[in-house]
């Protein structure tokens, strides 16, 4: 079974600085997808960014980018120019690429605090 590990329960960063959240995963599959979700205090889950494992190029969405290291099974999230609205729980997630295996497995999350 696939597992997702987020080793940093809490992180903090000064406003306008850059922070990197770590995520590693364990799988024997070659076709899969990785996601970062954000859960602000409202508890609404929001997709931040996603990456296909077959793509070598790292995904980027505005201030958010990933460092995808397939061989190391690492999928870290970098947030540039941190803003107060970035304060939230961040979850890394894994989904198999095969049809019929539809589940999304989440890590335990990293709580990010933004220091004004």
């Amino acid at each position: 079974a696939q597992t997702v590990t987020q080793s940093q329960p809490e992180m903090s960063v000064q406003e306008a600085e850059t922070v990197t959240l770590s995520c590693t995963y364990d799988t024997s599959e070659s076709d899969y997808y990785l996601f970062w979700y954000k859960q602000p205090p409202s508890r609404q889950m929001i997709l931040v960014i996603r990456q296909e494992a077959y793509k070598q190029q790292n995904a980027t969405e505005n201030r958010f980018s990933v460092n995808f290291q397939k061989a190391a099974k690492s999928f870290s999230l970098k947030i540039s120019d941190s803003q107060l609205g970035d304060a939230a729980m961040y979850f890394c997630a894994y989904r198999s690429g095969g049809f019929g295996n539809e589940k999304l497995t989440f890590g335990t999350g990293t709580r990010l605090t933004i220091i004004p």
Binding site: Y32, F35, R43, L47, F91, G98, L104, T105, F106
Partner: protein
């Protein structure tokens, strides 16, 4: 557009009482449906998912069950709640494409006393 409805938002139940949480999706057909639980300060634990009517996959053997009586309806149930069933329950749906994101409901905060 697609929407997901989950209710109730908050629920306080005594130990040993039954549970029924309902989730419905509008604006799409044949979605994948999911129930997740989030314990206080913890990650999301997948409880059940369904790829079609009557098809339920259970991830964690426990006190809960799920049913999908209609294409866009997903129900989480328990005959007798335990204290350990307390948590934040999230329903979600997705299309049958691995890259596509999950759309989450607003959640139910369940407190078992």
């Amino acid at each position: 557009s697609q929407t997901i409805h989950q209710w109730p938002a908050t629920l306080v139940q005594p130990v040993g009482s039954p549970l029924s949480l309902e989730c419905t999706v509008e604006g799409t057909s044949n979605p994948n449906l999911y129930w997740y639980r989030q314990a206080a300060g913890r990650g999301l634990q997948l409880l059940f998912y369904s790829v079609g009517i009557g098809q339920i996959s259970s991830e964690v053997p426990q006190n809960l069950s799920a049913s999908r009586p209609q294409d866009r309806q997903f129900i989480l149930s328990s005959k007798k709640l335990l204290l350990s069933d307390s948590g934040f329950y999230l329903c979600a749906w997705s299309v049958h494409t691995p890259l596509e994101k999950l759309f989450f409901g607003s959640g139910t905060q369940l407190s078992v006393l």
